[in-house]
Symmetry: C2
């Protein structure tokens, strides 16, 4: 049987576009001789539709979309993800289903394992299925499952059932899994391992179709694949690109394949590509083309600017230099050099006079109190007002340039440099930002060397350095990684050989700055635990703080 794998970039709630993409791909696949085409999980609505799923009107439109697809694609069978209603008397109102559309008829196969951790909230909307039937098509029996249904296969099973164990009772010929498996820098490897464990256990081939493209913070990397019954990857679709490929399942089951070894992407390459896609899709899907950001001469804004230039075109990214009396000469020079290297537009708007206006206006209130956080923040906030003024006047989206280390410990000014429509580096630790800068510079000096080599500084008071108030980033990032990604507590961190005093200080900073992160822009997610929708912390709490 000739099957097409369609790895596409959907837009949440944009039914017109999603339906058109599905119909176009189906027609193209049919012309190429495919008998069946497979699309991703909840492709019709885009993933994740979140609380739109609570609107009857939204579910109606999903149903209408399936009808339209069934009507328009007569000569090819289709598997596509869609939310459907649960008509039983009890349980959640919806199922997360794979629709099998053939000859104008629709059959549904419902997801049994509902991820409800990190960024996933599927139990919020869906009832888990407890029916396990194979799909019969052209004499073959297909075990059709949805994403998580294949993931209960490790040593620490999260669910008490295993859908494939049930489906194997009907002796299927092969598996099809439709997925919405978002990127993090470990996920491509983890995903391949899980899929191969399934083929190893069930000894039948697997066809796996994932999403590609960004949905606000979630970055779908694609990497759809076909695994033979001999447990070799026969073919894999690209990362970060829409693509369609054909496979003949008969061949799959009879022949022995050499492993179709994928080009091994380094973590930093994956992160780079993911962030570029994240920016690109955020702008495209919102209908914007131009970005603006503050250029400090530091490494965070430099890396953000390069990634934005690669996503949107250098000409569409405006760098704004906003020097103060505390800005060093090299800051201005480095920032300028970056804009010149990229060929991007830039502007210089000094903040000294604006800062003095605030000083004067607040003189009665502040009297002789010493210079402190308030004065530092006023500078950062003036810059925030200027960037937003340009954004409001000329239609740019402001890019936030904070990194994950800063966001973690609250080293940033709310309503100042924490502003933005999108945070590009908010899930990238400072030490990784340096790696990214070096990766960007691998062929030539895009980011000025001085930006990379000088000690990080916020330049909000004379001769300020990040190291005045924070531990070295090497140490800080290690503690943050263990606490945030690995959920290690103080005792476990001490057991890792880290300094107790520094640990307690860092954990206190992380926990007492939850209120700041509550108000930050969406953050492109590249790790297994990013700030934002996947990490939900109380603000008013007293734990490790």
């Amino acid at each position: 049987m000739k099957i097409a794998l369609a790895q596409l970039n959907y837009h949440i709630g944009n039914f017109e576009i999603n339906i058109q993409k599905i119909i176009n791909a189906a027609n193209e696949a049919r012309l190429l001789g495919a008998e069946l085409i497979v699309f991703a999980e909840l492709a019709v609505s885009g993933y994740p539709p979140r609380d739109f799923l609570e609107f009857d009107d939204f579910i109606d439109r999903c149903q209408d979309a399936v009808s339209t697809i069934a009507l328009k694609c007569g000569n090819i069978a289709i598997i596509v993800g869609v939310p459907i209603r649960n008509h039983a008397e009890k349980g959640k109102p919806l199922f997360n289903a794979a629709a099998f559309i053939s000859d104008g008829k629709v059959q549904y196969f419902k997801k049994a394992l509902l991820p409800n951790y990190d960024v996933f909230d599927e139990y919020r909307y869906f009832e888990p299925s407890s029916e396990f039937e194979v799909l019969h098509f052209k004499g073959k029996k297909i075990a059709l499952t949805v994403c998580e249904d294949l993931w209960n296969i490790g040593n620490d099973p999260l669910y008490t059932v295993n859908p494939m164990d049930e489906l194997m009772k009907s002796q299927p010929d092969f598996m099809i899994n439709i997925a919405a498996s978002p990127f993090d820098y470990r996920q491509a490897k983890a995903r391949t391992e899980v899929l191969k464990k399934n083929v190893e256990k069930y000894e039948i081939p697997l066809i796996y179709v994932n999403h590609v493209g960004a949905q606000t913070e979630l970055l779908f990397d694609g990497g759809s694949m076909v695994i033979s019954s001999g447990n070799q990857i026969v073919t894999q679709l690209s990362f970060f690109k829409e693509e369609m490929q054909m496979i003949d399942t008969d061949a799959l089951m009879n022949e022995i394949f050499a492993e179709n070894t994928m080009k091994v992407h380094s973590e930093i390459e994956l992160i780079h590509d993911a962030l570029v896609m994240g920016i690109k899709n955020y702008f495209e899907k919102l209908g914007f083309s131009k970005a603006v950001l503050g250029l400090s001469g530091g490494i965070d804004s430099a890396v953000t600017m390069v990634l934005a230039a690669r996503a949107l075109g250098a000409e569409n990214v405006l760098g704004v230099l906003m020097p103060s009396q505390y800005s060093s000469d090299h800051s201005v020079a480095d920032a300028l050099q970056l804009a010149l290297n990229l060929g991007s537009p830039y502007k210089t708007i000094p903040i000294k006079k604006l800062y003095e206006s605030f000083e004067n206006q607040l003189e009665t209130e502040f009297k002789d109190l010493p210079f402190g956080i308030a004065e530092e923040n006023i500078q950062a906030r003036i810059r925030g007002v200027l960037l937003m003024a340009l954004s409001n006047k000329f239609g740019h989206i402001v890019l936030n340039t904070s990194n994950k280390s800063e966001a973690a410990v609250g080293y940033g000014t709310l309503y100042g440099d924490m502003n933005g429509g999108l945070s590009v580096l908010g899930d990238v630790y400072k030490t990784r930002v340096f790696e990214l800068a070096n990766y960007i510079n691998k062929d030539n000096e895009v980011i000025p060397f001085n930006t990379i080599t000088k000690p990080p500084s916020a330049e909000l008071r004379p001769n300020q350095k990040d190291s005045d108030s924070l531990p070295d980033y090497e140490i800080l990032d290690q503690i943050l990684y263990q606490y945030i990604e690995c959920r290690k507590g103080p005792k476990e961190l001490i057991a890792l050989g880290l300094d107790e005093k520094i640990i307690n200080r860092v954990l206190k900073l992380v926990n007492t700055n939850e209120y700041k992160r509550h108000q930050t822009p969406p953050i492109l997610r590249i790790t297994p635990k990013a700030f934002g929708m996947g990490r939900r912390m109380p603000i008013v709490a007293r734990y490790l703080s």
Copy 2:
């Protein structure tokens, strides 16, 4: 059996305080002759602990807390909520349990129904229990359940099991339910109905213990109660206050009671009291005592200021007047009058010069472009910078004064008047804000009449009125309520007799302003569907927009 109901205000992750409160109440109850004292769901950790539950260290501390309580409270039995580990090979790592502590021994009764909708994420952490055993204590059989376990009793059951149906097989003498049931203006009524339905169905008395106090956005109203087997409320604890009461269960089962009619609180009274408690607890639990807010002379800032004054003491709430060239005389006069009526401190910091500084600094960029949103927002953002400067210098928390109608349609300036540590009115529609103002003024004119009667205006350009760019609030709020609280789509709204053009405009505004709401402060939740943790929408989407 003499049982004490302890309705207390816990602090998430503040084990020291929570344990001390529990031990003190247990000792007090023992002295009053109680044999058993009942505390609320997850009282040990505070509710909701959210992702702290993913930390082994946090769960260890919960376990230690139970050990400490068991050790310190020898002569009284205790029922208290605590997260415990799931030692089975499969399933989520935790259970949400009720610990029964007696004579130093601990027995656990696990929650079966896990709410995972609106503000609830319990399936994120917990495995649902499928064991149903009654608690044996002093010759009685007690059906001990946790919150949601009693809520699957309506016409549209969300779960496929019903814990009490199972427990009834053991013929319990009465029910005890420990809860974490947050306030909304309908919840006290809904809760009483659900509890009474249980007593009606199972025909045994019910002892119900709820949380009281605010945890950031969630407001727990208390209202714990005892219902006799004859389905009469025998006693009910206060709303919004810590309290302990004793009940004799023998009496409960043998006598016929007159319904202990509660004072019926009006919705607006409940909302008022809930918001005051929300502000009070937010400050107390964060260790702050002073608030600052911008006073525009308008109704939103006036109502916010009164509520804050009632929560924190008038002397602790600083009102800041920040008039611009577009501010009317009456704005300044009304704002001043409010501060005087309350006896609160106030300051006047004009923004005209600051605005001119920005105009000058941006002259090269803005050239001859007409006055627009950019210029309006600069004014709002200057005010934001000033309030934050005072907050940073003197240790106030900035109170946000936006109402739900504005937040819904994006009628507010991000990083300007949308700033704040806490949004007091973000779940209160504008029409309700007027109700609140009138309720506040029921005995005397706290809020100047002119503030209530004049047409709402942002005063960011000459003679601006809200009605220039928004439908009348009566119409707007009706559409918003139907869309946000009731999840009605366009067709259903039209069927309600609302104007199609206005509907489409409003829904588009709501959906395209998701990005703004993503960055707003936590909002005190007083309706069944508040912006924030209970309403999760994609930002980059194209639905009704």
